[in-house]
Amino acid sequence: MTDIEKTIEIEVMRYHPEQDASPVFKTYRIPYASDQSVLQGLQYIKDYIDGTLSFRWSCRMAICGSCGVMINNQPKLSCKTFLRDYYPGKIRVEALQHLPIERDLVIDATDFINKLESIKPYIVPREARSLEQGEYLQTPEQLARYEQFSSCINCMLCYAACPQYGLKPEFTGPGVLALLHRYNADSRDGARADRMQIVNAEEGVWGCTLVGYCSEVCPKQVDPAAAVNRNKVNSTLDYFLRFLMPGGGESG
């Protein structure tokens, strides 16, 4: 059989708050090609079978962070997950776990955005510098200390993977903690002490029970678990330094 005649089944979670009490599954049969992504499969359904299916997407190249869903129970970006990895088996697509569903595959991202806003996700300059003075100097080694954590595309796959977040939505969670660490570890920044207050609260890093699944599912090798861990160590340090040093643990 050539690719042209092959088909594959996709089972998609459907939920419409105006008419459904709880999510239901619907199965669609779509044409199969080995280079097609699951996102292209969903687009095929929307374009040619059922225009009412809702899901987020834009870039198609794993960088905008819109298209996270559960695929056969694992959090994934649908644009960089391919039909060939499941064929001839069935694919089951659901909304990201642990997050409220707005409709079909669309989750409510408000909590993530609020948490991101809460951690001061911007440089508070350690020392002032005017534009005429040019750039702050930062060596490749200094850049390497935070670069990986700055690569977070806010896709929230790690939230769907995190058992703690599932139990306790107040937990700041892996992605936002990675971004917090990104700023703390930046040689230009001077607001670490402020941010650590957020982390030290019960909902901050201490919610984490070190499962590490967040780093496994991260599509961008951000390794949020490492950031959470480092914050834990720093958090402990801060706790002790607070008693020893005026102004609290500005170490680091």
Binding site: K46, T52, F55, R60, R103, Y122, E135, Y136, I153, D189
Partner: protein, 598 residues
């Protein structure tokens, strides 16, 4: 319908919109700013920009060089005073991003590093590995959270502008999650909605890049300028159009035909040095490289692939270490989407639509002819790119002109009194009814995906790398027909919660208007310039008749009305646009002439 009053409304939360919002907030902290985006701002398509952002940086470079590269790159259709302003302010904007935390790639001494880019005489492209747009966008988005006067309307879709007595008074938006309409009444409005590449079939753009803001301004009488100029990027993924950045070639990649031959040397871009030489071979401008691909294909020198003809982008000689350090995302894309490891095999590539040079007519202060309406970014035609944009000039443009738009809109908002809103609210109500009409009317028979596919195919056929009058006429007719059929659209989804089918239908309406402005602008330009190349007796540039901008005026159900305006020339008279060794010779001659006339 609720009315929310603000001083400035910004439609678009990509690089340009965010930069404008921050500039407005810094200009006057007492003004209120609404930042409206149909997706969360960090999902905007700026996120996909890979290669970098241009600004004169090195000691042996200067503003004049950047100016000449840009103007010649644009085949002299640039507004030269605008280019002068741009090159003079680009560096300060890149430094500003650095101060806000952008993780620019560095040299060992801690200074920012620059790389070579196509059509640029000296390396001046700032980069953050090969995720420059991603980092710029996230830096701007996160920094914008510092400013309490910026009120975001995330996932709000703009369905119209409100205009009365020759002035723009705000926008009507739909909350995507609920279908709720709001009238955002503003003293000044900035459009920053990005490009329109999705009107073409194979393209590098995200699904959201549908020309919305262009269509909105156009429908309210603002001309769209130079819409025929659409850039094909020469190195894209066959089948999906996803981009392999020009930085691949800036770092030293080769383009090879089926014989393993660096074919660009046959198109006036040689000599084929083994290491990158600025403005030559693989570092020629995009229009020339895409045209060379077309010729190789005619000659049967390209390679058969499952999604059509390709050539090879060969990066093997750069070595694994450099590839992973400088081009990590390219490696990821090639490996995951094509199963090709660029360290060990060449990447199959072909041209795809990438960038819209034209857009909403704006002056150097980003103001449109409609009072109170500004534009910035890819949707705007401020006059920087002319007939062909140089890679890495547009990220810098977002910042330079995003900032201008923010401060100009702020100034304008301070200078005018607020309108009492009765009549405006009535208009907003009409807008709502019209938008709802799409999902409440019944009996439609046309399937949206079919219309969209036919439009995109027809644009590729008629407005591709090479164009003829006959093919363009066929596309004009097709787009006219599709606009007619669009009224008979069938929509499956009638709900108000996350009804993306409805919003896609509104977007398709925008796309058809923008597509129409493109093809009618193209067929009327009877010459070849930059990205607009004809094969039907108009193969040469014609400065006597066409050294001028095209203006497309909206004309309701009929075809657009086309007229022209002059190009501002300050210091560079149109000359021969040459690259490689021929380009160096031409430049030397220009210098000699200038020295003689001084």
């Amino acid at each position: 319908m609720e009315t929310i009053k603000v001083d400035i409304a910004i439609v678009g939360g990509g690089g340009a919109g965010l930069r404008a919002a921050i500039a407005a907030a810094e200009a006057d902290a007492s003004q209120t700013i609404a930042l409206i985006s149909k997706v969360y701002p960090m999902r905007s398509h700026t996120v996909a920009a890979e290669g970098g952002s241009a600004a004169v940086t090195q000691a042996h470079d200067n503003l004049d060089h950047h100016f000449h590269d840009t103007v010649a790159g644009g085949d002299w259709l640039c507004e030269q005073d605008v280019v002068e302003y741009f090159v003079a302010h680009a560096r300060e904007e890149m430094v500003q991003l650095e101060h806000w935390g952008c993780p620019w790639s560095r040299k060992d001494n801690g200074h920012v590093n620059v790389r070579a880019f196509g059509g640029m005489k000296i390396e001046r492209t700032w980069f953050a590995a090969d995720k420059t747009g991603f980092h710029i966008l996230h830096t701007l988005f996160q920094t914008s959270m510092k400013y309490p006067s910026i009120r975001r309307f995330d996932e709000h879709f703009c369905c119209d502008l409100i205009v009365e007595n020759g002035r723009c008074h705000g926008a009507v938006v739909i909350e995507v999650a609920t279908g709720k309409f709001t009238f955002i009444q503003a003293r000044a409005v900035i459009i920053a909605t990005g490009g329109a590449g999705r009107v073409f079939r194979e393209n590098t753009n995200g699904g959201i890049v549908t020309g919305d803001g262009m269509a909105l301004a156009y429908r309210h009488g603002v001309p769209l300028r130079d819409m025929e100029f659409v850039q094909y990027h020469p190195t894209c993924m066959p089948g999906t159009g996803l981009l392999f950045t020009e930085a691949c070639r800036g770092e030293g990649g080769f383009l090879l035909n089926r014989d393993g031959y660096r074919y660009l040397q046959d198109y006036g871009l040689g000599p084929p040095d083994p290491s990158p030489r600025n403005k030559a071979m693989e570092l020629g401008p995009r229009d020339r490289l895409s045209q060379a691909f077309w010729h190789e294909k005619q000659k049967g020198k390209t390679i058969d692939g499952p999604h059509g003809q390709v050539v090879h982008l060969d990066l093997r000689h750069l070595g694994e270490k450099k590839l992973h350090e400088r081009l990590p995302q390219i490696c990821e894309l090639a490996e995951e989407f094509l199963g090709v490891d660029p360290a060990h095999a060449p990447i199959p590539v072909c041209p795809a639509v990438h960038y819209t040079m034209g857009g909403i007519m704006a002056n150097g202060e980003t103001a449109s002819p409609l009072a109170g309406l500004y534009s910035a970014g890819e949707c705007s035609s401020v006059g920087l790119h002319g007939a062909n944009r140089l890679g890495s000039n547009s990220l810098a443009e977002l910042c330079v002109f995003g900032k201008v738009a923010g401060s100009e809109a702020s100034k304008f908002a301070r200078s005018v009194t607020s309108h009492h809103s009765g009549t405006l609210e009535k208009q907003a109500e009409d807008v709502k009814q019209q938008a709802l009409g799409i999902i409440t009317r019944s009996g439609g028979t046309e399937r949206m995906a079919i219309l969209r596919t036919e439009m995109a195919q027809s644009m590729e056929d008629g407005c591709g790398i090479y164009r003829t009058g006959t093919a363009m006429q066929a596309t004009c007719d097709k787009i006219d027909e599709l606009r007619e059929r669009y009224r008979n659209l069938n929509i499956d989804d009638r709900s108000s919660t996350w009804n993306t089918e409805w919003l896609l239908a509104i977007e398709l309406g925008y796309q058809l208007d923008v597509a129409q402005s493109m093809v009618y602008s193209a067929i009327n330009r009877k010459e070849s310039r930059g990205s607009h190349q004809r094969l039907d007796g108009y193969e040469q540039r014609d400065d006597v008749n066409y050294l001028r901008h095209t203006l497309a005026h909206y004309n309701g159900d009929a075809a657009p009305r086309i007229d022209y305006m002059g190009v501002r020339i300050t210091k560079s008279r149109p000359g021969i646009r040459a690259y490689g060794a021929a380009g160096e010779k031409a430049e030397q001659e220009r210098k000699n002439r200038e020295a003689a006339s001084d």
